[in-house]
Amino acid sequence: MLAVSDISPPVDRSQTARAAHLWLALLLFSVSVACLAVGASGTSLWGAIGKLVTGKALTQMERVVLWDIRAPRLIVGICVGASLAVSGAVMQGLFRNPLADPGLVGVSAGAGLGAIIAIVLGSFMPVWLLTMTGNYLVPFAAFLGGWGSTLILYRMATRGGRTSVATMLLAGIALGALAGAVSGVLVYMADDSQLRDLTFWGLGSLAGATWTKAFVATPIILFALLAAFTLGRGLNGLALGEATAHHIGIRVQRMKNTAILIVAAATGAAVSVSGGIGFIGIVVPHLLRLWTGPDHRALLINSALLGPSLLLIADVISRVIIAPAELPIGIVTAVLGAPVFLWILLRRRGMVDL
């Protein structure tokens, strides 16, 4: 008999997964502090805290940099990172495929279309809408686009109270192509400066984080995350197939409804405030599965901790590497994420079937 232990996880991974909550929370805390302390302007967080403690007034520079730039950026970063990672984990569980991402349910295509419509046709919108949304027309349109396209897809894939995940996947591809075509028409209509805006929107950035965005996105994302944490056992069951999930007592259809609405809300909100940021949704759950196993009860919580940590690290890099200019964060996550992802794939090849 071959020794089993050399290919088996040495210990029961549920213990590791619970310990990971603590480590990841510590990591997120440290990264958050770094995020407030590091920036192109060299404004010191500690100096400002010292002044607050001793009751001295902050300079305007300190107030603007710490309070109006870094603080909302930190909050938006945490929300977006958690949304992307948790939505990724939920989608992978739902589609039973570790490469699934929220793009599959049309969120990204819809949000992208919404953003393009707002950028290109913004000046043709009714005046009341423009006055109301102000500078936030693009994120607002992106959210509506993402949310709307997911609901349309979901309705198409649901027959007689049952949602076919396969139909949703295929309809998502079709809808993505359609959105791409409409986007193409709009891109053709766009002028030079609008094209630049589109490119930068597509690369994603946390540079546009403001308190207004933080206040709008945070409640939606927090609510979606809390709801997502209830899906753990259901997604575990779904790993055994829909029939078996039903046999062990999971209300499969209700769970699918919840999961898709959560992903649409969380990703829609995240994409609308930060543009398209790739790889977090795939790399984070994958790393965690390697470390603590695929149990979704721990995975979803750990994703909500590791996702923001990685995104904030990428953000710190993006803002200091070519300071005073800034690299779009989507480029940083792709440059860091793609090789890590390939390395994982090659190292584990043949070991465990994806």
Partner: protein, 267 residues
């Protein structure tokens, strides 16, 4: 008691089951046999609530259509013919998936007990996908057993619904699994198993239902049901039933196969 009344199942134009009545009693192993396409698995899946059907399925006195998924799960475990698994779970994690999260110590102990029951305790921390087909089948059985570990809960019997539980097992493990099913029934639980192997059925079943072309051909004890005539009619081929002398268990011999073999040996 698990009762199916007037079950009719049709997929588009094809009728799979025609008003089938079926009853299984706790304390017994009830086998469903019949040729391919006779509707055995469909009948089982109607009783697990996986197939939409006309007619009623009553589990321990309650219509399953009125029961929530978790209420059903508390009363019956289901072993499907083939279960796929996404993501690299370990064997013990697969067994735990079926368990409601109680105190983790209890969950772990129960999962280990179930794995030991199918002789897979030493594979607890191996990746499920690394097991052989037969081992995976037994790991799934452990998951089902853990889900309804006590055969009787609060005075009500619990049920194992097994779809070809021995399909990919070697002879030793076939006997092991059928022993588990029998002892579950002896402890007061109910077992319904779709079976292919008529001789194992004869050895282990307390009651047998033969399905053919979507209708019930015969129902009763193995001795009553497993006869030359019913089997030959149901399977559409010549079968001869003998008796193993000592316990008087029926023993089915495929007629045509034997004569062919003899012919080959002779030539």
């Amino acid at each position: 008691m698990l009762e199916a009344r007037h079950i009719t199942v049709a997929f588009s134009k094809k009728t799979i089951l025609k008003s089938v009545d079926f009853t299984a009693k706790p304390g017994r192993v009830t086998a469903i046999v019949g040729p391919n396409g006779s509707g055995k698995t469909t009948l089982l899946r109607a009783m697990t609530g996986d197939v939409s059907h006309r007619g009623d399925v009553v589990l321990n006195g309650q219509d399953i259509a009125t029961m929530q998924a978790w209420e059903l799960a508390a009363q019956r475990g289901v072993l499907s013919q083939a279960t796929t698994l996404a993501f690299p779970f370990t064997v013990i994690e697969v067994v735990r998936i079926g368990l409601h999260s109680g105190t983790s110590g209890d969950v772990d102990r129960l999962a280990m007990q179930a794995l030991n029951r199918v002789s897979l305790g030493h594979y607890a921390n191996r990746f499920y996908q690394e097991l052989s087909g037969g081992e995976q089948q037994r790991a799934q059985l452990a998951r089902v057993l853990a889900q309804v570990w006590e055969p009787v809960l609060n005075g009500a019997p619990r049920w194992l619904l097994l779809d070809e539980p021995v399909a990919s097992l070697d002879i030793g493990h076939q006997l092991e699994v059928m022993d588990i099913a029998r002892s579950y029934a002896r402890s007061g639980g109910g077992v319904v198993a779709v079976m292919h192997d008529l001789n194992l059925t004869a050895l282990y079943a307390d009651a047998v239902t033969i399905l053919s072309e979507g209708t019930v051909q015969a129902q009763g004890t193995p001795a009553e049901v497993l006869t030359d005539e019913t089997l030959s009619a149901a399977y559409g081929c010549r079968l001869q039933v003998n008796k193993i002398p000592s316990p008087g268990v029926p023993f089915v011999l495929p007629h045509a196969a034997r004569s062919q073999t003899e012919a080959k040996v002779a030539s």
